[in-house]
């Protein structure tokens, strides 16, 4: 049942759209990387990598207690309920730490930002990602950022750009 559930996910409801006060028509992200690894293949987390197709970042959310488990698991990590399904979030967050990668793991690659972003909706919800579309040397802890999806290899990588509402 769990796997079936993960093949389907809801669009944001009207009420969710009302509280999610961000742009809903996000332009695609510009990729600073010349190469990008494909995500691991896993039926539990496949939704995460494809969620951005309609412009929404989703996390596995518990129908019983509301906790978002990331990375997604077989049950809610807080209450162990199996009533879990992907649900959208605003896509807004804050840079909690970062690094400017300078070493050229790929020849010719320009410096780029790898960051951990804390997602607004839950204190312990955090993604490692890239901060894009800004001077890599301008990024700081505390920066407000907004999700920007990059479609590559058939996946939608959730990257982040400086938030326009800061």
């Amino acid at each position: 049942m769990n796997c079936l559930k993960l093949l389907w996910w809801p669009a944001p409801s009207q009420s969710q759209e009302a509280v999610i006060a961000v742009e809903t028509n996000r332009p695609a992200a510009v990729d600073p990387l010349s190469h990008r690894l494909r995500p691991a293949e896993d039926p539990l987390t496949d939704f995460f990598w494809r969620s951005g197709a309609d412009g929404w970042l989703r996390f596995q959310t518990c129908g019983a207690c509301g906790y978002r488990t990331h990375p997604a698991g077989p049950v809610c990590a807080r209450c162990l309920s199996t009533d879990v399904a992907p649900q959208p979030v605003s896509g807004l967050g804050t840079v909690v730490t970062f690094t400017v990668n300078v070493q050229q793991w790929d020849a010719g690659q320009e410096p780029y930002v790898i960051a951990m972003v804390g997602i607004d909706e839950q204190a312990d919800l955090r993604l490692t990602t890239n901060i894009v579309e800004c001077d890599p040397w301008s990024v700081a802890i505390g920066d407000r950022v907004s999700v920007a999806f990059l479609e590559r290899h058939g996946y939608f990588y959730p990257l982040f750009r400086p938030a326009s509402d800061r």
Binding site: P32, L33, S34, H35, R36, L37, R38, P39, A40, E41, H70, P71, V96, T97, F98, T99, V100, N101, V102, Q103, Q104, W105, D106, A107, Y112, I114, A115, M116, D124, R126, L127, T128, T129, N130, I141, Y157, L159
Partner: protein, 401 residues
């Protein structure tokens, strides 16, 4: 723990050995391992026929892991025609030290009496002239501990620990000059170790001017990949009276994993699994950080050693920068000599085992050219991020209570 028997007291380190250590030696992993193993068995005054256990980290396969894994136990068993009653080789354990700790549990359980424990790396040869970039496949698929990191251009632990360092700098005001003292201290000690890889003096100016790898970590914050093997013989404690070399005793270990096993989902962004490991370590002993005469702390990256200093309680959380400021406290003649053979930063990335080897040499009084005065207790911390193990080694047996 007072009054209760500790399994740690059932074992001693009776022998140590090391192969040639160097850059791009071009030798087979099992060849290096046999060199180290025979040296350790000889150092212990034993023969091959005495060895009835084998233990290594991480097991697996040297070729597919690009020199990170050494030969698995069956390969060493075959090369030396050993006849173990017990063996293991695995990485899903509390860090590299777990190969030693697993041997100790086997001895305590009566499954073995003399266990050969080894860690072999051939990363330098595997990477060749292309460096670490040569072993990354930019068009591959994320896996294992990199699953949530590598799809974002973070292929190296340098990136992951750079983010820990950035957070530490942000929260506590730690500076590059403070972090640099870890690298400068290692280099100064390496100058007294003829077997170290990099021995020429390193100044703070050199450090600050070095090229960035991943901010705020520069070239000298990263350890140097090498080829080499380190081996130990762990024996039943009652062997101490007939041991050929001065036995080294294990007072306590720390192996707990109480935070999320992740490089980016840990509760405290400026700390690591080293915290829970250290809490458990001190709960198992009557010794305190003030009793420690030397610390051999994992320095795959300089920031790791700094965080280990905090985790083990040599200073408070967040005060690691101030603790190493100026370098006097962690120098050979300081209150807590750190990584006295040069650490992985300057003596080579023997992946934790080089640090244990040096702890044993110091406790035996055999660290020629860099021996500290009459050490009784050495603290060893191994691993980074969610991977951690720690132990207290002593030159005399300690009491259980």
């Amino acid at each position: 723990m007072t009054g209760r028997r500790r399994f740690e007291h059932d074992s001693i380190i009776s022998g140590i050995g090391q192969s040639a250590v160097g850059r791009r030696l071009g030798r087979s992993p099992v060849d290096l391992t046999v060199e180290a193993a025979l040296a350790a068995i000889g150092d212990a005054g034993l023969t091959r026929d005495d060895i009835d256990g084998i233990s290594t980290y991480p097991g697996g396969d040297a070729a597919s892991s690009r020199g990170y894994g050494g030969p698995p136990p069956p390969e060493l068993q075959e090369a030396l025609r050993l006849r173990p009653n017990w063996f293991q080789g695995a990485a899903e354990l509390p860090g590299q030290l777990a190969a030693l700790i697993a041997a100790m549990t086997a001895i305590s359980a009566g499954l073995a009496r003399h266990v050969l424990v080894y860690r072999t790396v051939t990363e330098s040869t595997a990477q060749g002239a292309g460096g670490r970039a040569a072993v990354f496949d930019p068009d591959g698929r994320a896996s294992d501990i990199g699953t949530w990191l590598t799809p974002f251009g973070a292929p190296s632990a340098a990136n992951w620990l750079a983010m820990l360092a950035t957070r530490h700098f942000h929260e506590f005001g730690t500076t590059r000059e403070q972090l640099g003292q870890i690298a400068l201290t290692a280099r100064r000690n390496a100058g007294r170790n003829p077997l170290a890889i990099y021995r020429e003096p390193l100044s703070m100016d050199d450090y600050l001017a070095a090229r960035m790898i991943s901010t705020p970590l520069c070239l000298y914050d990263c350890d140097v990949p090498v080829d080499g093997s380190t081996a130990f013989v762990v024996s039943a404690a009652d062997h101490a009276s007939s041991a050929a070399a001065p036995p080294v005793y294990i007072d306590a270990v720390g192996i707990a994993m109480r935070d999320r096993f992740s490089w980016d989902q840990q509760e405290e962004l400026a700390a690591m699994a080293a915290t829970s490991v250290s809490d458990q370590l001190w709960s198992r002993t009557s010794l305190t950080p003030a009793d420690v005469d030397t610390a051999q702390l994992y320095d795959g990256f300089s920031i790791l050693a700094l965080v280990w200093l905090e985790a083990l309680g040599f200073c408070k959380f967040g005060e690691g920068g101030a603790f190493v400021e100026g370098g006097a406290r962690i120098a050979l003649d300081g209150e807590l000599p750190l990584n006295t053979a040069g650490g992985q930063l300057s003596a080579g990335r023997l992946h934790g085992f080089g640090l244990v080897h040096e702890a044993v040499l110091q406790l035996r009084g055999q660290a020629t050219g860099r021996q500290i005065a009459d050490p009784k207790v050495a603290a060893v911390g191994n691993g980074g991020g969610p991977i951690a193990g720690a132990m207290l080694l002593t030159s005399e047996p300690t009491e259980s209570s």
